[in-house]
Symmetry: C2
């Protein structure tokens, strides 16, 4: 069979990794792809930047039209990130009859329907394994490996930066700001980490997973999200005392009335595999109606893990499997039955609550009464010794930690609002969900 010529747009870390695999393992890739896969073009912003040996024989240019207009190119790899320019390149490539491989979760989360419609119109594949949890072949696991199942729920650690920071906070007792600074120094966090730590990156990936696992057409903005930037060490410590670890989780569950979706720091029981995912690793737990509980673990980002996923997609394009998958599964299709989202206020979960209360008789009773009126029952309580008295001999406030049974979000929010108005409550309460 004829070779597959690749035009790669974007030559950052991941692009360099893709080039390394394609140029250093020519025989291996050809054997598994059923034909040679040649990196013909690489499109860069700055032609003057020094390139290393992996680009020998590759035509490095700064004009994407050279690639799109080359009839020999069979597939365009989009690795520039961002949304607008990437969207243009992907749409142009499809219109020119190229298959597309992309690692761009933001693009898919925002423009999935438009891009997949263009792919259908052109009868070309769009493969995006690298867009979610780079080193974990999770999209293939769900859409091929678990194809017999209706996915019932998923819970995932999808941001290595956040997981690294949380691991440092949990294991080292380091405050958030210090852990972030350490992560930046080690290259595990960007100079501007906002999109990672506020949960946006995780929400992009959850939007893609929601389509693959549930057929739900979701924009990132539709996903309620909280980041890790306001987590306090105290809560990680209490969670540990209760036998839990706090992880930033993407959560999706088919509930009565619709699909629950959220991104939030959540408590995970220590004996669950998700609790044992440390440092820069990612993991995705998928529960299917036939297969039951499954989990997929690996590096979520980085040069070679993400390149591994991009090259796997190129091989899938070269063999013809990607075209079949795109055609049959028909992602983001307007013909698919809509999957309603459950409003956040109507979702149900167990909760961890921390209050800072005056050390006086009757306070716990007042809080418990308010929870009880809202139908929220208490599973366990921790209260430690009060903090030291102030100069007037007034005892310091006492942290009170309550784990609830399942509670409807709306009721819980109402209860917290009411509790925070009590004059014996000394600070706004902290609330975290518990992942089942």
């Amino acid at each position: 069979m004829q070779q597959l010529s690749v035009g790669m747009v974007g030559l950052g870390t991941v692009g360099a990794g893709v080039a390394r695999i394609l140029t250093q393992h020519v025989g291996r890739i050809a054997r598994r792809a059923g034909r040679p896969v040649e990196l013909k073009w690489a499109v860069v912003r700055d032609l003057k930047k020094r390139r290393d040996a992996d680009f020998e024989g590759v035509r490095v240019v700064d004009d994407v039209r050279k690639v799109i207009e080359d009839p020999e190119v069979g597939v365009v790899v989009e690795l520039i990130g961002g949304v607008d320019a990437a969207r243009r390149i992907v749409l142009d490539a499809l219109a020119a009859g190229k298959h597309v491989v992309t690692a761009n979760k933001a693009l898919l989360a925002e423009h999935g329907p438009e891009i997949l419609a263009a792919a259908r119109a052109a009868d070309r594949a769009v493969a995006f394994e690298a867009s979610v949890a780079g080193g974990i072949p999770i999209l293939g696991a769900i859409d091929v490996g678990l194809a017999a199942n209706q996915v019932q729920s998923l819970a995932a650690i999808l941001n290595g930066t956040c997981n690294y920071i949380l691991t440092q906070m949990t294991q080292g007792g380091i405050a958030y700001s210090q852990a972030l600074a350490d992560a930046q120094a080690l290259g595990f966090a960007e100079a501007d980490p906002t999109l990672d730590v506020d949960g946006t990156d995780t929400a992009h990936k959850l939007a893609v997973l929601a389509q693959i696992a549930f057929g739900a057409d979701v924009r990132t903005a539709d996903i309620p999200r909280e980041g890790i930037d306001r987590l306090e060490i105290a809560d990680l410590t209490y969670a540990r005392e209760l036998g839990y670890t706090i992880k930033l989780l993407a959560h999706a569950r088919l509930a009565d009335g619709g699909l629950e979706l959220r991104v939030a720091p959540s408590l995970v029981k220590n004996d669950r595999p998700l609790a044992q995912v440390h440092g820069p690793y990612n993991a995705v737990r998928v529960v299917g109606d036939a297969v039951g509980d499954t989990l997929y673990y690996g590096r979520g980002a980085g040069m070679m893990p993400t390149a591994s996923a991009v090259v796997a997609d190129l091989i899938d394009v070269a063999t013809g499997r990607a075209a079949i998958t795109s055609r049959v599964l028909d992602f983001w299709s307007p013909d698919a039955p809509p999957v309603p989202l459950l409003p956040a206020s109507r979702t149900r979960r167990r909760n961890y609550l921390r209050f800072l209360i005056a050390d006086r008789p009757g306070v716990i009773a007042s809080i418990a009464t308010i929870l009880g009126h809202k139908g929220i029952s208490i599973a366990s309580v921790i209260q430690h010794e009060p903090t030291p008295a102030d100069e007037n001999g007034e005892p310091g406030p006492v942290p009170l930690v309550i784990m609830t049974h399942l509670a409807v979000e709306e009721d819980l929010r109402d209860a917290i609002r009411e509790i925070d108005r009590l004059d014996v409550v000394r600070a706004p309460s902290v609330r975290l969900g518990v992942e089942e």
Copy 2:
């Protein structure tokens, strides 16, 4: 596209699960397969046995030729297990132009080359995702998801019976024989558990994985194996004291000089995800040269998890992907370069050693000297109080536990033989490997 008619041979637990999915989720399966998948025939041994509602509309017969000779049948599912009869059915089905889906690891481990040659000759697919770690889509993960990688090593918990027994022994402090009896009472172990507990079942699966991950053509008999049937609680306890859990592992690693393969109870550090795989769950750790460390977790057996894998293979056959994978990857091909196995005597690993020694001065020195002469260095030592003195006032023997650094198998065996001949050594020593 025309529907895919399925002839299923064998209607035990897994077959019933496959029938349930195919008959209860007709729409879901057709959508993902791109065409209807109809269970047309089920071949059973005893026609008089009562069948439940999942077989309405299915022609249940006791003659496999009805299926093989039906030109409408596109794929034969072999679920009878065992080797000889299954081999005949699979070869006949391929010769008749049917694709084949099988869950039969023993068949592939013994006759992989013959069966895949027959598939090539007939230009038909053989799909066998269900043969290894039922609920975990591990073959697809390796041959598609990680296609860009050279797999460097894998370590896997592949037998749920053994893992259940080991979990009970570790967490409950129950002796092997009791844990086995409990597992049998709960249906987690067969009445005759030999092939599970002696490591044969795990070795069958490792033979399949060795082909998929390394292209190595291995028979089960070529794989050195030890089971869990001689494990003592004492060793699980010492391992825990050292921060390890004992698991029955299938191990494969590309080493200098060849592929290391073994099945053996092994120590796994508690902070590794493999150590946290409990009860009937399986897991496979795969290290690739690009992707690094990955892990796949789920149920390894049982009605619906295994049926999930069989139906995924049927969907893959229906879409045409399975035929592409079979053609391109060309498993057990005589044209593939041979992958030499490293002789067991030349493999290297860290080891856990337990000796029962007389409580006299100089004994540890003698043992350490013998190890030293063989070039084996000691990483750590545990020695507890001696056991109670006997009626003559002679102190009881003392258990001595030594963890070694990397040691060549041959040197280690020589050293143990020499140590066991010392007159101060009271019982044959125990040796377990450590998984890195």
